[in-house]
């Protein structure tokens, strides 16, 4: 039975990956409708957008929910230090879920809807773009540790008590369900896209400590980015997140404020196999927020404030990121 479920997961992963290969997006479709944006040129950059906004909630419980993420960027709109700026506003509405397959295996998935807007100092016409973004699917294996049997009084315990530590390993893919518009890479911030058009591998390692009141959760994720149909490949991305939380229980609900750090490091973008200058970067955020659990619902809010950043040779500046979510526990 256990094996069967594993294979089911395997087949599922395979089907999702291959079906999206078959779902061809017309590579020529992109250029026509956005031709009028062409006269404004700048540098080429990277995907700072919402593909990598974490996978779950603090409690690591199974759920289905909705998440809203708001982020903005300021980008240099030209090649000079006194060039005007453009401002990118990224609103993401995300359906996300974590579904158990077995006791130790679960799947997480997300499907974002992106609503993007860009304004220009130069007075150029505002750009707006919306549509479904890139869905991600991940399979997770959870290692739950058990307490050591130091007490001889229970020689044959029926169930060993769980320790407070757990490890998770996740493998998955980000699928090119969002449309990538090649013309838009002709800007300082090529993260202004609803999708990257590429199939990316996601590898994740997580560690959780959950005490009665205090907990800690950390996750390290590597995004191995694939090349899209336009021979454009976003730089591989490493994301790290560490969050400490404190649970305040009430009669029938609980409030869990949290505080942490998160960061991303991006490699250079490649096009036609050549690296593009000033397209790598890194950012470190301080994060804080809270979750409120009542009944089957979890309501959460999260803010990420950039502490230090150097994105695209300093040409792109990320502002704070806010997210709100409502999850229904499964």
């Amino acid at each position: 039975m256990q094996n069967f479920k594993t294979y089911l997961l395997l087949i599922l992963l395979f089907l999702i990956s291959s079906s999206n290969y078959a779902l061809d997006i017309d590579p020529c479709k992109h250029s026509k409708d956005i031709e009028f944006w062409k006269p404004f040129c700048d540098l080429c950059g990277c995907a700072t957008s919402s593909g990598s906004s974490g996978f779950g909630t603090l409690s690591n419980a199974n759920f289905i929910g909705l998440r809203y993420i708001s982020q903005s960027f300021k980008s240099r709109d030209g090649i000079f230090t006194n060039s005007p700026s453009s401002y990118e506003y990224v609103n993401t509405y995300q359906l996300w879920t974590q579904i158990p397959i077995s006791q130790k295996i679960y799947i997480s998935a997300s499907l974002p809807y992106q609503d993007l807007k860009r304004t220009f100092d130069s007075g150029a016409v505002n750009e707006e773009l919306d549509g479904f973004g890139d869905a991600s699917v991940m399979g997770w294996f959870k290692w739950q540790f058990y307490k050591k049997n130091t007490n001889d009084s229970i020689p044959y315990p029926v169930t060993r008590p769980l320790s407070k530590h757990a490890l998770q390993i996740g493998v998955g893919a980000k699928l090119p369900t969002g449309e990538f518009e090649e013309q838009l890479t002709d800007r300082v911030n090529p993260g202004f896209q609803v999708g990257t058009g590429s199939l990316d591998a996601i590898l994740s390692l997580g560690y959780n400590f959950s005490g009665d009141r205090v907990g800690f959760s950390s996750i390290f994720t590597y995004y191995l980015k694939g090349e899209n149909k336009n021979d454009y490949r976003y730089g591989n991305q490493f994301n790290y997140t560490g969050t400490a939380f404190y649970r305040i229980p009430f009669n029938r609900s609980a409030l869990t404020p949290f505080l942490g750090l998160s960061g991303d490091s991006y490699k250079e973008i490649e096009q036609y196999g050549e690296q593009q200058a000033d397209t790598n970067g890194n950012i470190l955020n301080g994060t804080f927020g809270a979750e409120y659990a009542t009944g089957k619902f979890i309501i959460g809010a999260n803010a990420a404030i950039p502490v230090s950043q150097d994105l695209f040779g300093g040409n792109v500046h990320a502002n704070e990121k806010l997210s709100f979510y409502v999850n229904f526990m499964l």
Partner: protein
């Protein structure tokens, strides 16, 4: 057992993800051609150039300009296999005028029917070479009229102005004195035509259905502070046909251009 399953998933996922398409690169480009856009973007050092803004130069002088124009010709591209393509000579002379810049401050030159290829280098001349000049007034095509309109021509016998900067300069004792750099060759007696060769930071892929863009940064400050730093008050505020000052400005201009980046489609 669990771990085995897990690694099976991992292996399979990686296998799926490594299935990228490698079927490009073998197509023949023979007979294909496309367009190439060259964008000229004038600046002063790392600042975008703006008319009538005062810029400091060496020797404690400053200058303001109300016109910035230069003449570019003989654009030639070098293919990755080493062969070169010279854009048809009759259409291969352009006046880059800051006053013609778009909202982003760029002046565009569009080359049409460029053979599809992967280009790695570009070279062009600043000004008009002797060969073209010797074709006479009738042999210049549209350029003659455009140059006249743009104030880039002296009398025909003297020839074209290769660069034209008009404005004023100041130092500790002089305020807003006239500055006119009208440099060119003088007939056939003084040849100030210069060639510039630039390596491209990324390969430019010209294709039937792709118009790459080449973003050239032109640093106006190099006209005065290039290979030679000139003192405007020492006669370099009026550079016209002089056989000493014009070659110095011409040599400085050779170092004014760089390819900031390219865009492939």
């Amino acid at each position: 057992m669990k771990i085995t399953n897990f690694f099976t998933i991992l292996l399979l996922s990686v296998t799926i993800l490594s299935c990228s398409s490698d079927d490009e690169g073998t197509e023949s480009l023979d007979g294909q051609s496309g367009n190439l856009v060259i964008k000229f973007d004038n600046g002063v050092g790392d600042q975008d150039f703006i008319f009538d803004v005062s810029y400091n130069k060496s020797s404690e002088e400053s200058y303001k300009l109300s016109s910035v124009k230069y003449l570019v010709s003989n654009i030639e591209l070098t293919n990755s296999d080493g062969t070169t393509f010279l854009y048809p000579v009759d259409d291969n002379a352009f006046i880059v005028d800051e006053a013609d810049a778009n909202a982003a401050g760029e002046i565009w030159i569009t080359l049409e029917n460029v053979p599809a290829a992967d280009y790695t280098d570009i070279s062009f001349g600043v000004g008009i070479d002797q060969e073209r000049f010797l074709k006479g007034a009738d042999g210049q095509g549209d350029l003659l009229e455009i140059a006249q309109e743009k104030g880039m021509l002296w009398s025909w016998a003297t020839g074209f102005r290769f660069i034209r900067l008009d404005g004023s300069f100041s130092n500790s004792t002089i305020t807003d004195e006239a500055l006119n750099i009208h440099m060119g060759s003088v007939g056939t007696s003084l040849d100030n035509y210069r060639e510039v060769s630039l390596e491209l930071p990324n390969t430019v892929l010209v294709r039937e259905d792709a118009t790459p863009e080449l973003h050239v940064k032109a640093d106006i400050s190099v006209v005065f502070d290039g290979e030679t730093s000139v003192v405007l008050a020492d006669g370099y505020n009026q550079v016209h046909t002089d056989e000493v000052t014009t070659p110095i400005i011409a040599n400085n201009i050779m170092g004014m251009f760089s390819v900031h980046h390219v865009h492939n489609e």
